[in-house]
């Protein structure tokens, strides 16, 4: 095999914060085919056990119990990134010790670099000295490397830990070339004008440590302008409200995102590839998936807003519907609808209240107050599934909100699907255009002939080549 190109997979890996030393074990999320809108089942799966000393995978095992906590600490999610090689045969194959050996190379010839950063403070203040960066590499050995965040406006010698990376040592049983990213612990850090640790200085119990020198930078006491250049929504930082101003408490976290590069010199050619990583909070309902996810964004950006007929399927539509149910099931839809609670009108932060707050629209619940109980809405989604499977749901296609209808706050417009949720533009959530097109293709199949899977195949055959 000749290596022509390298790629890192997955191209975007998400880590999740936690202070435990034990990362979350691997598991599968499975749909119960007899209850397709029921809870997905979590089944423990093959998990790698890393030898702390050598950095190799010393064993793999399937845990008997799935645990997300380690006493009072959350177990972090620490993804592996694999290197794949484009071979002379035109296929991507895992880069392994054997493949390296066939090119008279060894794992030590692989070089990794990592750059992660947290620019949250910089995004607000605009001060380049508020950027927090951690860079490591080139790495060719298998020791863990701390991603130690440096910021020009920190007190001298202070660093904010953003996690670790480790080039996993390949061995006979696990010969693939891979790197693991372990995120930080999920602590809050702070700012001060007085030298941290000085006798008599007040200790803020919210903080792991004071890092930021408020004599150098403005983050402590910073007030966002709330103008056209501010984040949207604005003022989303820990603050003390002083009059109409939101005064920063100078807090920072240990989230980050960044890039992992790998390099390998094959003959005279230097091959390289990169992937992206990020560290966010835990997914607290691991058997549920968001109705519109980053994967949907990537799909639309890669393949466009329309689905080729050959790529649509009832299964894909059912998955979107399942994700919608998983959101509905974990929302108090009665409250989110804007129903009175304990006699109080407009008692919570809801889309109904946003409509009034953002525009001059009068306050009113979104749906009829008598039909929005969580249980009733799940039953409604079950009916949609039944209709889709029977090929009798063309009406469902019309209930979906188009992306350019987010500003429609008429009674009918507010009731479109997905309902009661907020989108990236701050108004009612619309699915991606690609998701909507997929659903409409399947929902508008002619009523016929029993099995909608057959109908779909026939529709594909008739329309092949008409859409791009």
């Amino acid at each position: 095999m000749t290596i022509r190109e390298l790629r890192i997979l997955p191209p975007l890996a998400i880590a999740r914060l936690g202070a435990s030393d034990l990362p979350v074990d691997n598991y599968e999320v499975e749909v119960d085919t007899t209850d397709p809108l029921g809870y997905r089942r979590l089944r423990p799966a093959e998990t790698f056990q890393i030898d702390d000393h050598s950095g190799e995978i010393k064993a793999s095992y399937v845990p008997t119990v799935l645990r997300f906590m380690d006493n009072d600490k959350v177990r972090p999610v620490a993804p592996f990134l694999e290197v794949w090689a484009l071979s002379g045969r035109g296929q991507l194959e895992p880069l392994t010790v054997e493949v390296l050996r066939s090119h008279r190379l060894s794992p030590a010839d692989v070089k990794w670099r990592v750059h992660v950063a947290n620019y949250k403070v910089y995004r607000r203040t605009g001060n380049l000295s508020d950027r927090l960066d951690a860079k490591v590499g080139p790495i060719s050995d298998h020791r863990p490397r701390e991603l130690s965040g440096k910021c020009p406006n920190f007190w001298s010698g202070k660093r904010l830990p953003l996690g670790w990376v480790r080039y996993i040592k390949p061995n006979t049983a696990f010969p693939a070339i891979r790197l693991r990213f372990t995120p930080a612990h999920g602590y809050v850090y702070g700012a001060s004008k007085a030298l941290p640790g000085r006798v008599g200085t007040r200790i803020d119990p919210n903080l792991k440590e004071v890092l930021y020198n408020a004599n150098k930078g403005r983050w402590l006491g910073f007030v966002e302008a709330g103008d056209t250049t501010s984040t949207n929504p604005p003022f989303i930082y820990a603050n003390n409200a002083v009059g109409d101003s939101f005064v920063s408490r100078g807090y920072m976290d240990d989230e980050c995102d960044g890039i992992v590069w790998v390099e390998l010199k094959v003959g005279r050619q230097l091959l390289s590839a990169y992937a992206r990583i990020g560290a966010g909070p835990p997914a607290y309902a691991p058997d549920s998936f968001p109705v519109r996810s980053v994967a949907d964004e990537l799909d639309q950006a890669m393949f466009g807003p329309l689905v080729r007929q050959g790529d649509s399927s009832l299964a894909a539509v059912e998955e979107i519907l399942r994700r919608a149910v998983e959101t509905v099931r974990l929302m108090n839809t009665t409250v989110m609808n804007g129903n009175p609670v304990n006699g109080l009108v407009n008692s919570a932060n809801t889309m109904a209240s946003q409509d009034t707050g953002d525009t001059s629209r009068y306050f009113e619940p979104i749906m009829s107050t008598s039909i929005v109980d969580n249980h009733a809405l799940i039953t409604l989604h079950q009916s949609v599934l039944t209709a889709l499977r029977a090929g009798s749901a063309p009406w469902f296609a019309d209930l979906l909100r188009n992306y350019d209808e987010v500003g429609d706050l008429s009674s009918k417009g507010r009731r479109k699907m997905p309902a009661l949720m907020r989108g990236a533009d701050g108004r009612y959530l619309a699915l991606t255009r690609r998701q909507v097109d997929l659903i409409r293709q399947v929902a508008r199949l002619p009523i016929l002939q029993g099995d909608p899977a057959i109908a779909l195949t026939e529709t594909k055959a008739h329309s092949r080549g008409k859409r791009k």
Binding site: R7, L9, I14, A15, L42, E46, L66, K73, P79, F80, L92, P94, V116, Y119, V121, R178, D227, T228, N232, P233, I236, A238, M252, D257, G258, Y274, P281, P282, Y284, A285, D287, S288, F289, A295, D299, Q300, M302, G304, R329, M331, N332, T334, M336, S347, R361, H375, E405, V406, D408, L409, S410, G413, M421, R422, G423, A424, D425, A430, T432, R434
Partner: protein, 273 residues
């Protein structure tokens, strides 16, 4: 195992051996306002060569070279596709629908989907407001006064020099390290108190331990309730001491927030094992 290098779906959705599902983009919310794992709106800021846009607004925050004078202008139309829409609805109970606001942004991901798909790598007609506009403005009836320019559309994904096709990774120049998370809440714990569940209920639950009561309607706990007994839903209110507050989250979120499986607080040892 092999993957066809042109099978971008397989690569975009690839799950490496040993990785739990929560490492996947499928588990990251994208109704980002601003988001939890990423503020994914940031990938659109540098879509057009020569200018930088606000992540959620058609406002030009930076211009480069001959486009420096576009700072403060608003990008209203690209290749015929609008970036804004009006907000309409009734102002009074029972009233007819009228204009509540003349312009609100359409999120980039959807409004630019067709532009990206048809014009990536190519020049495209971009129409800006004639003047600096601090506030959102609608597309005027007479478009002759708009500034019309041809700008190149940056591809979102990197490309392979070997296969000449797209790679499944977001182009490096589009977002630098730190920029996918820069507009999220600081610290993120603040957002778990600040933002209500209607943003991201599947990741940050709201209504848990739900049962049907004798009246046939549901009852359950607010996920942020400190105590699960009595089983009652305490409406979101940062001043209500029955709910986990800001300081609780900063100091002790790991011990206080509960994982939820099958809609219930998850405690291994029960039937979920």
């Amino acid at each position: 195992m092999t993957i066809n290098p042109k099978n971008l779906t397989a690569q975009l959705h690839f799950r490496a051996a040993g990785n739990p599902p929560t490492t996947m983009p499928e588990t990251a919310i994208s109704n980002s306002y601003p988001g939890l794992e990423f503020d994914f709106r940031n990938i659109w800021r540098r879509l057009f060569v020569g200018i930088e846009l606000h992540e959620s607004d058609n406002y030009v925050v930076r211009g480069f070279g001959k486009h420096r004078n576009l700072v403060g202008h608003r990008l209203l139309i690209v290749a015929g596709d609008p970036t804004v829409t009006a907000v309409v609805g009734p102002q009074m109970p029972g009233g007819s629908s009228g204009q509540l606001s003349d312009a609100t942004m359409l999120e980039w991901s959807n409004s630019m989907a067709r532009v990206l798909h048809r014009h990536a790598g190519r020049m495209v007609k971009c129409e800006f407001t004639a003047n600096i506009e601090p506030q959102p403005v609608p597309i005027p009836d007479n478009r002759r006064g708009l500034l019309s320019l041809q700008l190149r559309v940056r591809p979102i994904f990197a490309s392979s020099k070997t296969t000449r096709g797209a790679l499944p990774v977001i182009e490096q120049s589009l977002v630098e390290p730190g920029e996918l998370t820069q507009s999220l809440c600081s610290p993120w714990q603040n957002d778990y108190r600040e933002c209500a569940c209607y943003y991201w209920a599947a990741s940050r639950p709201d209504y848990v331990n739900v049962d049907l009561n004798e009246r046939g309607v549901t009852t359950g706990n607010n996920w942020l309730a400190k105590n699960r007994d009595p089983k009652e839903y305490v409406p979101d209110d940062f001043a209500d001491s029955r709910l986990i507050g800001y300081e609780d989250l900063f100091q002790n979120w790991q011990a206080l927030l509960q994982f939820v499986v099958e809609g219930k607080d998850y405690s291994p040892g029960d039937k979920s094992d």
